[in-house]
Each structure stands twice: as structure tokens, then as C-alpha cells.
């Protein structure tokens, strides 16, 4: 175990490793937990995950660098990911991305100077019926017109929400959805990581 990790994260790591017949399989979940611990996948985080899974640090780095959702550089409080794949592109995704870049003063692929935002374009988000879509800390908003995208950026900057909720943002800034969810989710994201209780990245609203 990694003694410098928070007690909660140590507990999570133990539970995650126990979920698999071979502990090597826990490398992906543990990279999420390590991201929460360190803010992103640092060199130290990779060494720690290696220790937990019996791999070498090089093997963990090889895995971490393969997947786009593991950030190996500092990331803003709000990771804004604009889908620019075919269905969103057909519905104006490039205009949405341009509006987001302009309003946040941050170019695609970069973090704002104050660390509030990281802006990125992503490949298909799997919500093509609600195109164009974006997500904030992997919480999805569908049917986002450029002016609503600008309003979203201003809201994030001014309100500084601690927990990001897809449902709240959908009501404030969204439009057409792929399908209706009907009821609000009780959890949201506390970091630029997918909000999932076993990884410690979700919080009750």
C-alpha cells in the first residue's frame, strides 16, 4: 500500500485490486485513483501504481500514455471536452469549440493561465442524437449552441461549482438530447475525472 495516500484512497485501492483475478488488471482504475490523489498522473503516481500492481513503472507509463483520459500534465479545475466527431461536426461543433476557446481565452489542448479551464476537442462522445455536445469533467451536456457554450464558461468561472452535475448543466445550457433521462442523478464530478464512486471521484449532490 502507498502510505502517503489518503486513508480513503488506500481503502479504494485495496478494494479495486480485490475485484480482479490478477492484480495487474487494476492498473486502469488505480490510475484514476492516483490522478485524484495527485491531480494528474505524475511520475510518482505511475511508480505508486506500479508498486500496487507488481508492474514496472515503465509498464504503467506505457499503459497511461495509451489512453487519452489519463492526463500526464496539470489539468484545469474544469476539463471542457468538445466533441468534434462527424455527427457533432454536422451540427456545428466547430463553431461551438471556437466559442468555448474565445470565451475561456484558452486554445484547444491548453490550460488557462489561472488553472480554471483545460479546453480540448474529443472524438465521438456517444451522444450523437443530441449533437453538438460537450462535457465538463466528463459530465455531459447535449444540444449546446455556441452562445450557451459561452454562458457555460462564464458560469463555471463565476459560480465555481465544486461538484459538476450533468443534469444541472443540461437544464442551464443544454438543448436537444439523445434521449430524456427523466430523473436527476444524485452524484456529480469533483475533479476532471469520470465521476464514479469506487474511484472516489464522485460526490453526492
Amino acid at each position: 500500500m502507498i502510505p502517503t495516500w489518503s486513508a480513503d484512497n488506500q481503502e479504494r485501492a485495496t478494494a479495486l485490486i480485490a475485484q480482479y483475478p490478477e492484480k495487474r488488471s487494476a492498473v486502469m482504475p488505480l490510475l484514476y485513483v492516483a490522478s485524484l490523489e495527485h491531480g494528474y498522473v505524475t511520475e510518482e503516481a505511475m511508480r505508486e501504481v506500479a508498486e500496487l500492481t507488481g508492474l514496472t513503472a515503465a509498464q504503467v507509463q506505457s499503459v497511461a500514455s495509451f489512453y487519452t483520459m489519463y492526463r500526464r500534465d496539470p489539468v484545469g479545475n474544469y476539463l471542457v471536452s468538445v466533441c468534434t466527431s462527424i455527427s457533432c461536426w454536422l451540427r456545428g461543433a466547430d463553431d461551438l469549440l471556437a466559442a468555448i476557446e474565445d470565451e475561456s481565452g484558452t486554445l484547444d489542448g491548453e490550460m488557462s493561465e489561472d488553472g480554471t479551464f483545460t479546453i480540448e476537442h474529443v472524438e465521438c462522445s456517444g451522444a450523437c442524437g443530441g449533437a453538438p455536445v460537450l462535457s465538463v469533467n466528463w459530465e455531459l451536456i447535449e444540444g449546446v449552441e455556441p452562445d450557451k457554450g459561452r454562458a457555460l464558461i462564464r458560469w463555471l468561472r463565476d459560480a465555481e461549482p465544486e461538484t459538476i452535475s450533468a443534469d444541472e448543466m443540461q437544464v442551464l445550457f443544454g438543448g436537444r438530447r439523445s434521449f430524456e433521462w427523466a430523473v436527476a442523478e444524485p452524484e456529480g464530478a469533483i475533479a476532471p475525472l469520470p465521476a464514479f464512486a469506487p474511484y472516489g471521484t464522485a460526490r453526492e449532490l
Binding site: 490478477e22 488488471s25 495509451f66 462527424i86 442524437g129
Partner: protein, 439 residues
């Protein structure tokens, strides 16, 4: 034509179709109990085989046949559910995960019983955090209710289900890449054979099935394989979740019985084209599928076999519709860019070829195209997928590289004049470039 299998509960009970209480209230898990009490594992497998259910993830392989490939004696066996839905245009597994996760779990339990599996994994793409939360809650509820875990419903049958979250890699939807990823490695596809049924997760026999495929299993066992087989065309049995996106008036997921025409699907189900504009082309089955055009295909049938006979595939059921305002070179560029980004890099034809295709299209789009670029596009495509035939020939471990040639072949076949029109008349001339860029 109104038969529904997968979306009945979520339509009738939109506020709580994802909860255990509602699932039980609408007959959920009764089929599992009945099967454990009255049916042998072979009986369950026989119903699935009789149903003619074919995989909903893209390859349309008969599920019962795939199950039959498991070797007799080797244990343990694993069941892995592919919820890494990432094919551009596809958003139907998310619907099933968010709105009816217990339907999937009952399908997993029935399938695991049939296959003598005690460990199942669901690989959910990392971006689907809401779907993952709902599925995890459903898993927790199912354990508490005794529908998962040790000795289910007083039987000898035990099953553990683990949700594994991906981290942003389309290639992990390819079944052997998914298994590599689940083992804690880079998500790189493996050479087949051996197929996963023989040597899969941790080198043990493994069945990998799509979310929609397995979500059909409770209905099949409850109503019998024959009842399922009798819905729709013989070789496209059952219903199908079609994801309509792009320039249709009403994009969304629609559960339909196959056998209708494309005209019916686009103009009735999809509500026609936005603002009543003319239809230019559509992608019939996800980004990897060769395109269709109205002059040739509008009155052909939407079945697995008819689409294949017309040189494309139903794939993941993702229909991406483009109206007359679409710049087809830009659309092809967007699709090729996706494959270039998602190439895992193992095979040279895919790693280099997809990048070349992207760059050539990019320079055509920025007014720097050369007259021999049209031939070059086809030549590079031919090196990735020799002969540019359908189904595609491969020089690579997996079909990702060949998939990138589908949009190239499509625009060269149907819109060659539009591609040519983007090449400056006087090669390299700035004036000509401006003419292209400014129209």
C-alpha cells in the same frame, strides 16, 4: 412493426425504469428464477441459438454460434460485456445502460448460467460516467437482492460482475484489444486466431458480447428463441436499436424491426431531413461503413444481408445522415481523422496510412490539393486494404485501418467531381487557392 423488446420498460416508466423496484414490478428477474429452477444451462444456450440473435456491436456474428466455440473442458471461463461504445454515430448502448441496467444484468446472469461462467466483466467506456454510475448502482442492488453473488435464488449458480471503466480509446471496442485493456495492458488488438472463445481473458476461454446483444437475452428466454426468430426478416431477427444522427429532423435512438426501406427509416422514423432539404448521402452503420446515396439506395432494404449485398454494413446500427449543404471532402476528413487518432500504432499500414489520408484530405480542404492527390488517396487506401473490396481485405491485425478507407472510397465513387473541384486549376497558385477557399 411496432414490436418492442428492449425499450418497453423505459418508455412506460421513464422516471424509474433503471431501478430494481421498477424492474421487479415489471416482471424482471422472474426469467432468471425460472431458468435456474426449470432449465439446464444447455437449454438456455439452445434458446439463444434458436433465436438467430446476431451480435449488435458491429460484426453481426450469430451469438449462439459464438457461444458454441467454447472448448468443452477448460475452466474458468469468462463473460465480458463490451460497453465501450465509441463508433462515431452510435449511442444506443448508453441508452440501455442508463435506462435499463437490470435488463442487461439479467441477460448477463442468464448468459453466464448458460456458459458455465462465474466471473463477468462489463467494460464501460470512460466517458460514460453517468452510465457507469447507474450500472454500478444496479449491480449493488442486484447483489443485495440476491440476483448476483453466491447461490443465486437458492440455486448452485454463483456469479460475480465487475464494472471496469475504460479511459478513452476507441480501439478497446475491438474485442481482443478490450481484453488486453482489461488485463491492464495497452489496448492493442491481438492476432486472431486464437479467438477469445478459445484463448481470451487471462488466456482462458472468454465470450465477448455487446450490451444490446445481451440485453435481448431475458426476452428470448422468457418468450422462447422461436418467438424472437419470428420477428422481422429471417437473418435479421428481433428488433434493432438504430441511432439516427446528423441532418435528420428528429435524431435519436429508435427500436425498430428491420426490413423497412431506407426511405422509411430516414423520412418516417427520422422525420426526414431538417428544413426539408435534399438528402445527399448517409453512413448506414457507423463511421467504418461505406456510404449510401439516395439515387441508388433509398429504396433498398434495411436488413443485415441487404446492406451487405449493397456493399456496406449495418455495423452498430448508427445512421449518419448528410444533407445537400455537406462538404463531403470535409466529412470524409472528419471520419478519417478519427481513425488516424484512434489507430493503436501496431500495424504500419494503419498507423502511417490513416495519417497520410488525413493529411492529403487536409491539404485539399485548405486549397493546396494536387491533381494526383485523387490517385494518391486511392493508392494509400489500397495499401491499407488491398483491392478496396467489400468486405475489406486486411493488411493489419484488426479492421480499424481498413475502416478508414470507407469514406475515401465513398467520396471517390459518388462525389469524385466535388473532390476534383477542390483541386486548384493551376497547381500551387495562390490565386487558385483563394478561389477554392473563398468559393
Amino acid at each position: 412493426m411496432t414490436q418492442k423488446i428492449l425499450t418497453t420498460r423505459m418508455e412506460e416508466h421513464p422516471s424509474d425504469s433503471h431501478t430494481l423496484a421498477r424492474y421487479l414490478d415489471t416482471g424482471g428477474y422472474a426469467t432468471l428464477h425460472k431458468a435456474l429452477a426449470d432449465m439446464s444451462p444447455d437449454d438456455v444456450a439452445a434458446e439463444v441459438k434458436a433465436s438467430n440473435l446476431r451480435g449488435r456491436g458491429g460484426a453481426s456474428f450469430p451469438t449462439g454460434v459464438k457461444w458454441g466455440f467454447l472448448p468443452e473442458d477448460t475452466r474458468p471461463r469468462y463473460l465480458v460485456i463490451n460497453a465501450d461504445e465509441s463508433e462515431p454515430g452510435t449511442f444506443k448502448d448508453r441508452l440501455l445502460l442508463e435506462r435499463d441496467p437490470h435488463q442487461l444484468l439479467e441477460g448477463i446472469a442468464l448468459s453466464a448460467y448458460a456458459l458455465d461462467v462465474q466471473r463477468a466483466f462489463v467494460y464501460v467506456r470512460g466517458e460514460y460516467s453517468k452510465a457507469a454510475r447507474r450500472l454500478q448502482r444496479a449491480i449493488d442492488e442486484a447483489y443485495e437482492g440476491g440476483y448476483l453473488g453466491a447461490g443465486i435464488a437458492g440455486s448452485e449458480f454463483s456469479l460475480d460482475v465487475t464494472l471496469h471503466l475504460g479511459a478513452g480509446a476507441y480501439i478497446c471496442g475491438e474485442e481482443t484489444a478490450l481484453l488486453s485493456s482489461l488485463e491492464g495492458q495497452r489496448g492493442e488488438p491481438r492476432i486472431k486466431p486464437p479467438f477469445p472463445a478459445i484463448e481470451g481473458l487471462y488466456s482462458m476461454p472468454t465470450i465477448v458480447n455487446n450490451v444490446e446483444t445481451i440485453s435481448n437475452v431475458p426476452w428470448i428466454i422468457a418468450n422462447g428463441g422461436f418467438a424472437f426468430a419470428s420477428i422481422g426478416p429471417t437473418t435479421s431477427a428481433g428488433t434493432r436499436l438504430m441511432s439516427l444522427s446528423g441532418h435528420v429532423a428528429t435524431p435519436g435512438d429508435y427500436e425498430i424491426v428491420l426490413g423497412l426501406t431506407w426511405r422509411d427509416l430516414i423520412y418516417d422514423v427520422g422525420g426526414g431531413i431538417r428544413d426539408d432539404r435534399p438528402l445527399k448521402a448517409w453512413v448506414p452503420g457507423g463511421a467504418s461503413a461505406p456510404w449510401f446515396v439516395p439515387e441508388t439506395h433509398l429504396d433498398t432494404l434495411v436488413t443485415i444481408d441487404d446492406i451487405a449485398a449493397n456493399g456496406s454494413m449495418i455495423g452498430s446500427g448508427a445512421v449518419i445522415v448528410m444533407d445537400d449543404t455537406t462538404n463531403v471532402v470535409a466529412a470524409a476528413h472528419r471520419l478519417v481523422k478519427f481513425f488516424a487518432h484512434e489507430s493503436c500504432g501496431q500495424c504500419t499500414p494503419c498507423r502511417e496510412g490513416t495519417t497520410w489520408l488525413e493529411r492529403i484530405l487536409d491539404r485539399i480542404l485548405t486549397g493546396q490539393g494536387r491533381r494526383d492527390d485523387l490517385d494518391l488517396l486511392l493508392d494509400v487506401s489500397d495499401n491499407i486494404s488491398p483491392g478496396l473490396v467489400w468486405p475489406p481485405a486486411m493488411t493489419t491485425i484488426c479492421p480499424l485501418g481498413p475502416s478508414a478507407t470507407a469514406p475515401i472510397v465513398s467520396i471517390m465513387r459518388y462525389f469524385r467531381d466535388e473532390v476534383e473541384a477542390m483541386i486548384p486549376v493551376e497547381e500551387g497558385s495562390l490565386v487558385a487557392r483563394e478561389e477554392v477557399l473563398l468559393g
